[in-house]
Symmetry: C2
Subunit: 240 residues, 2 copies
């Protein structure tokens, strides 16, 4: 566990009292003792140091010294809703790679029943996304919006956003595409890809189509590669 | 199934006769009929077209017209052996992204029992890697070598190979590092990273350390991102 995260309502008078798996981790993996200082953070809040005040089998109490608030990632992701099993696996990787807003949308090749999955339950989503944050050391939880109709997405105002549609076989590579400021959005299709009418919709909404290489990737593999490339480009070519 | 693959010893007198899941797929998903031509390929051999000659509940017989032999990927991967569950999930993604040689090695932070997993059984490895090839449309199966001692790896001759050690916190980004010809190798550490002595070993062997960005990634996420970046760079900046 790279950073122990807590919700703002778990902090009272500068202290948090943990009783769940986090307390277990502090006791049995970190083998912390009173006085030890741990890397912590408040979800959607500042990084923090937590000094162990008390710890026993019931839980761990920590005194919190808040630090800097991390800047939110300047990358949004639209993902055609994957199979529940795939989404479950992908969520921690998405938050670890750093996404501000995550849109999970319908598409012609998305099965309707995917929307009935427990994975879309806000508590489940939250838990899976926090898992990735804990590991990456960030506190900025992606804001998730589930769109049962893809066209709702086109109603969002995308001014000031560089919008990239991942689509194999086009000329431009995501790798060499310019980095847009202040934010970028990647749209990743379902298994089998976007249909022609969907591609037209994205292009009409101002998206540019880019590829990830000549090989056809599974949509979850493509998602991780695309986020990795966009994040690395954002860092390497400087922030606005 | 993007391309139906067969082993060279399944081809006899220009025909292959499939009886397993591939036949099932041809009949029930592709709903092929005699005379239809399917995208096929011979593992470690040419791409091919397969014309359906006969098909019934027992199997499918196809007449093979071989085409081009794909060039082998010019990317090797050294991966500190991940947990069996993670490796199982990662193997098809590795072959889909395109790897020539895959070295699965020990490291200080690799648990010994990982080496006893059924995932390392050659038949299991083969099946998982073929799954990724089928999906990506390639025929070049990664050649796997399991190294129970990391130092065996340093005994390999790496002349003519650009060797990159993925290691967070260093100055150079994989994204902006030069593309070496004719081949490159990426070394991805275990969960928790390489130990200092291991890093020294790699550097002494001529590796350069590169990072994937400021965020700490799980080793499987890092593996997919690094392969995706290296493959995209290899394509975008031309082959030698």
């Amino acid at each position: 566990m790279n950073r122990i995260l807590y919700e703002s309502d778990e902090r009272k008078n500068g202290r948090v009292y943990l009783r769940d798996g986090r307390a277990e981790h502090i006791r049995t993996v970190l083998k912390a003792e009173p006085g030890d200082v741990l890397r912590m953070g408040e979800i959607d809040g500042p990084l923090a140091e937590g000094r162990v005040v008390n710890l026993d089998e019931n839980g761990v109490e920590l005194g919190i010294t808040p630090g800097e608030c991390p800047q939110r990632p300047c990358l949004d992701l639209l993902l055609a809703l994957p199979r529940p099993k795939v989404l479950k696996r992908l969520l921690p990787q998405i938050s670890a790679l750093g996404v501000d807003r995550l849109f999970l949308t319908n598409a012609a090749r998305v099965e309707r029943y995917y929307f009935d999955s427990h994975v879309l339950d806000p508590l489940f989503l939250n838990k899976a996304l926090v898992e990735g944050l804990v590991q990456s050391g960030d506190t900025c939880l992606p804001k998730v919006k589930v769109l049962r109709k893809l066209r709702e997405f086109f109603e969002v105002d995308w001014t000031d956003t560089g919008c990239w549609l991942l689509h194999p076989g086009v000329d431009q590579s995501l790798l060499t595409a310019p980095v847009f400021r202040p934010r970028q959005l990647l749209a990743i299709g379902p298994e089998g890809g976007w249909q022609a009418a969907e591609v037209e919709g994205f292009l009409a909404a101002g998206f540019e189509a880019v590829h990830l290489g000549k090989r056809i990737l599974r949509s979850d593999t493509a998602c991780i590669c695309a986020l990795g490339i966009a994040a690395a480009k954002g860092e390497s070519y400087g922030r606005s």
